[in-house]
Assembly symmetry: C2
Amino acid sequence: MNNFIFQNPTKIIFGKETIEKIGDELKKNNIKKVLIHYGGGSIKKNGVYDKVVISLKENNIEFIEVSGVKPNPRLSKVIEGIEFAKKNNVDGILAIGGGSVIDSAKAIAGGFFYDDYIWNAFATKNRFKKALPLFVILTLSATGSEMNGNAVITNEKTNQKWTTSGLALYPKVSIIDPTVQFSLPKKQTINGAVDAISHAMEFYFDGTKNNEIQLQLAESIIRTIITTTEILLGNPEDYDARANLVWSATLALNGLLSTGTKGGDWSSHELEHSLSALFDVSHGEGLAIIFPAWLKYNYNEHIERFDRFALKIFNIDTGNPSIDAKLGIETLIEWYKKIGQPTTLKEIGITENNIDKLVENATQKEYIGRLKRLSKEDIINIYKLAL
Amino acid sequence: MNNFIFQNPTKIIFGKETIEKIGDELKKNNIKKVLIHYGGGSIKKNGVYDKVVISLKENNIEFIEVSGVKPNPRLSKVIEGIEFAKKNNVDGILAIGGGSVIDSAKAIAGGFFYDDYIWNAFATKNRFKKALPLFVILTLSATGSEMNGNAVITNEKTNQKWTTSGLALYPKVSIIDPTVQFSLPKKQTINGAVDAISHAMEFYFDGTKNNEIQLQLAESIIRTIITTTEILLGNPEDYDARANLVWSATLALNGLLSTGTKGGDWSSHELEHSLSALFDVSHGEGLAIIFPAWLKYNYNEHIERFDRFALKIFNIDTGNPSIDAKLGIETLIEWYKKIGQPTTLKEIGITENNIDKLVENATQKEYIGRLKRLSKEDIINIYKLAL
């Protein structure tokens, strides 16, 4: 096990009828005027927006709004948000949405105090040191952004989808009401599940040895996501399945699984980010395509771990570690197909002709991979395997 | 799954050669003068004390000391600590030890600002609202106190071993260097392991239904504690076994396993606290005796859960849930015997003649038990089963 620091100050308020508490939480944190940040307006259809507004008014909290955040959230929207927040002198941000909205809100919260050009917080080591207090009402479980300090933003001018992180970006309070996700399109539940499983796998397959407790925790999270996703495809309003999925997704990227590891491999995420940046693919679909290709390409780098994955997740045990490792990957792909995910680039219209562009985008990163540091040739091979 | 709030602000610094960071952490938190609190002086033999002093001096942090904390930490020592802390105007507390020292330090930290009579913070709902910032260097893993807001103190005048808790009592920073525990007597490692397993079991057996993710996390922690304890009995200096045990013990009572449950049953802890209060039994031994008796007495209250425990922890599956449940309990008792724990009251010199006194002490509590709320008769029966 490696040395680590774990610190996660976010307060989670979880369960039924919890959205109503948002005004009180803002008040306790001395927020007088808040910027509400959200996406395309589904929160106005499902009643979340109204509940928030009532709670804010009851607690005499002023609010202004910036909406229209899109999946793969854009830098231009972040800049719009920062300018509006400054002009209106808000003292807090309230994100109502999934990972895209939360990440966009984090960039606004950090950008509010940032003197440098905003993209430098993503591109360089000049990360956000200070941020407006951030509050979250989660409406889609996937990225874990409700309980971590990470934000992924797409610079649409340069086609870069890059990540920043820092202690200042952890939400003060995140409210997670699983019932809000009853009305999600199935596709979004599935994308979220694949994203959360992928987070757990990034830590699981980063080459760390002798981290038994973290492996068992990761396996617990992956197994629970698989079983609860299957239940929800039959009945999206099964509360307990939804609650278990939602909390598992949060735990998959709140720092717990990272403890004692090398920090995660993250190759699959980086290669997927290039896919999303260039072709606006949804992250969950991109991961269902890229991660299996990465697994196939790298299983020989840590065969015992891949063997263990097959056993602990899918009960595969032929006695031959190499066969088990491959069967484990194949079974994961079959499961992705079963829940309706694409598992090849071709299915989403990307062909061999696009690979040069993907590789060019991906190789801008300082480095990719901890289990194996990927060379340009490795990156080409993995994208080709994903075709 | 039940609604819950999760909030745990403690910063954990984990791994080899981390004790040296304490001065820097105090400085970052603007601490100028700290009260060092510890036990019988083993920290002077194993080098921990010297490392701390060097780090404090390097960072120009003044310190004073109150030592001599005993297992089942006493209220009189807490009062001594509060008076000394006030007289010397410290602005922080540094606990160097295991659960007893940390709990005593928490009571001092809270008592520093407490206007009421100190025992009222344990006896009534007038809990500590404010506390001096607390820092911890953990030397014995067991209670999880390094990452929670709980403190258990014994009032030696009234023979009450009672608990308080609150957000103010979470340590700011806890440093966990597993190598410090290499030199522990085996008995202390074993007691710590039993305590940590018992914490996980309190949540596991509190009657909550449909909390799949928390059950899997609890099972992961219990299994890891069992396997690593066995390794350490052979080789106390196996770093990875120690690191996995130590981190599992912290996770067993840092709030993670509590999420979505009824909050844990805690009958076994309460009944054990009476044992410790009256006979100064070590908590880990007391739990190895009391918890199995509670399990035997209550398995019919939630047979599916006891059946699952047998399967997931000990691979027991005869096909008959009732038989499995009983075999699971017997196997746990056998494991306690194997690692050298007493499993009956007789073994520690307590006989039927002492039961009235135990029952009298235990029934002072407002109530005991969530899986089943225990009547006086239940309490008598459980102590008798433990004979």
